[in-house]
């Protein structure tokens, strides 16, 4: 929600099928009508259920932003940390208790501007966690400033004449930093999003799912792209599924084609596996394996 807005969401009357995964005592949520974040949460909750992971051993960590509020609505051990620092917090959590499933859930600005350094290092180390980025191509929470994902020529309050600041291609960044699973979908592709999150959670190592999502309040309105529904139509008409695409080729231009799909799926030893194997080779029996 834009900080200056009041919540307008209505309490749903029909029982939500993923209700047990939500903190219903915190509803209504703060997100604007037409915002894509809620849709991603719905997909996430279903993916969690389908993946059959032990929910008591699953922790979710968010940074700061509209997406950063996700952790607070999920009925899991949940952390709302500082801006950009969800990944290093999650790294500490995971290394200190390897039994936990860790999901980092945050926005594009949080994960790739202020938190970009942590992202590439956690991917390089292959810390076992899933990072879900809701990419609305903008800073929602602070009122529509450009992000390092904003396409060139799109307007944000800090680039009012259109951005000329070249954006990141997130799948390429994740791929080249060492992520073992990389997928991108839009909120239009709810089944694919759910499946991708499920696969990412079950894939050992640093996995990354980018979800392109509308921010009707700040991005779409300022760029005259209509409301949330218009954005969904745009995603429907302009997405091209290309599994296994070379991540170099999947950058996003303003209102052009969006390449979606599963781009990377590979195996690498995790940080803890490497640590345990190496230190065991050095110390043998003397080494207390760091299991939790």
């Amino acid at each position: 929600m834009h900080e200056q807005q009041t919540a307008t969401a209505e309490v749903p009357e029909v029982k939500n099928p993923v209700e047990s995964l939500l903190r219903m005592d915190r509803m209504p949520h703060i997100w604007c009508p037409g915002c894509g974040i809620g849709t991603t949460v719905n997909c996430f909750a279903r993916a969690l259920e389908q993946s059959k992971v032990d929910l008591d051993k699953t922790a979710i960590v968010s940074g700061i932003g509209c997406t950063g509020r996700v952790a607070g609505y999920l009925n899991l051990d949940s952390f709302h940390t500082t801006h950009g620092r969800a990944i290093p917090f999650a790294t500490g959590l995971k290394l200190a208790n390897p039994d936990l499933k860790i999901v980092v859930y945050s926005g594009d600005g949080d994960l790739f501007a202020i938190g970009g350094n942590h992202f590439i290092h956690a991917a390089r180390r292959n810390v076992d966690m899933t990072v879900i980025c809701v990419n609305n191509l903008i800073y929602g929470m602070t009122g529509g400033q450009v992000a390092p994902t904003t396409p060139v020529t799109a307007k944000g309050t800090t680039y009012p004449y259109g951005s000329y600041d070249p954006p990141f291609n997130l799948p390429f960044l994740a791929d080249s930093s060492g992520a073992v699973y990389v997928a991108r979908w839009t909120v239009y592709h709810v089944h694919h999003v759910t499946k991708a999150i499920k696969e990412a959670i079950l894939h050992r190592g640093f996995s990354f799912v980018e979800i392109i999502s509308p921010c009707p309040t700040l991005y779409s309105r300022r760029n005259r792209l209509g409301d949330g529904l218009d954005q969904m139509k745009f995603y429907q008409e302009n997405s091209e599924i290309r599994h296994g695409a070379n991540t170099k080729d999947v950058d996003i231009d303003f209102q052009k084609k969006i390449i979606v799909g599963k781009f990377v799926e590979r195996e690498r030893k995790t940080y803890r596996q490497l640590m345990n194997e190496h230190l065991t080779s050095v110390f043998g029996e003397q080494y207390t394996k760091y299991e939790g």
Binding site: R23, D25, R26, D56, K57, A59, V61, A71, G72, N75, L76, D77, S78, F79, H80, T81, T82, R85, P88, F89, A90, T91, G92, L93, K94, L95, A96, N97, D99, L100, N117, H118, H121, M275, L279, V282, F283, Q286, Y287, T288, Y290
Partner: protein, 387 residues
Amino acid sequence: MKAEKNAVLTGAHFIDGDHAACEGAIAAGCKFVAGYPITPSTEVIERIALRFPLVGGVFIQMEDEIASSIAIQGAVWAGKKAMTVTSGPGFSLMMEHIGYAAITETPCVFINVQRSGPSTGLPTLPAQADMMQARWGSHGDYEVIAIVPNSPQECFDLTIRAFNLAEEYRVPVLVMMDECVGHMTEKVVIPEADQIDIVERKFTKKPPGEYKMFETNESMVPEMIKVGDGYRMHLTGLTHDERGYPAMSPKVQQKMLRRLVDKILLNEEKIRHIEEDEVEGADIVVISYGITSRVVLPAIKKAREDGLKVGHIRLLTVWPFPEAYIRDLAKRVSAFVVPELNLGQIVHEVERCAAGHAVTRLVPHAGGAVHEPVDIYDAIKGVLEHA
């Protein structure tokens, strides 16, 4: 609780303050350290990296101090005792997460081996110029505990105390060493494990459903839980209510903040750690901490030989400041002399508490070396003359 036997290197050692602080952390039960190299603190993490594989701990060299200072908090919520270690520039980067630890009541330890600043300053040379930053460096109101060793032995002893206080009050505890103490090599006696008192985390016995994250009784310190035990906790750096849920109201803010501050300030006397030398009947009292507390000794001795009644107070815990103690003492002495390796930090606290009852005189030093004792001697001699 007593220390874990296999973690404690019982015996007499000839090691420096950085190494001793590392041993203190290990003896205290620290099992997670995240850090980023910076002189003059690096030896602490280097020794941690050497020692941890054999005592069941995990060390990770993070990409920066911002990451280090939040990774330790993740580890704490996973149930471990954790710390990070740094010096000036890295300490500056950690500030936001000192605030996060304060508002989330995450027990953790930060070691800052102080060097001269600002900025890169004198990387290999001492200062005590981060004392106010330790107290006020993160935005907003909050309280921390800051303790200041003056020898390798105390780096060991007080690092254990830091971990214990962190658990007792659920607060970030800062061990404010300095380059001299960090790099000074002396005898350090490490006792038997069963002679070392350890404060364990107070995990709640309440089942999920009955437990509230920030509910407190008279102790003002809520009980803790850890991730993975079925509590489905929520932790946020936003102002929060007893459940830990964000609550954007001045009323909740007042209640939360009041307790965060009171749990430390109202326990100041319990946390207080002071060494007194000939304070009763003294006319002039030197107040010192850290390496400076050793440099003042010849000056005090000489002034006493001149017939002056000079007392000495050494602050081993600087924050919370022993306000009531200094206020009381100020009424019984004529002057305070405060030498510090900075251009005036803790002297402001002394002056505030003296409240005009006693003259307060700073003996400043820009850092890079310790004081010449003669400068302190001159200040003691002169303090009443120019009053």
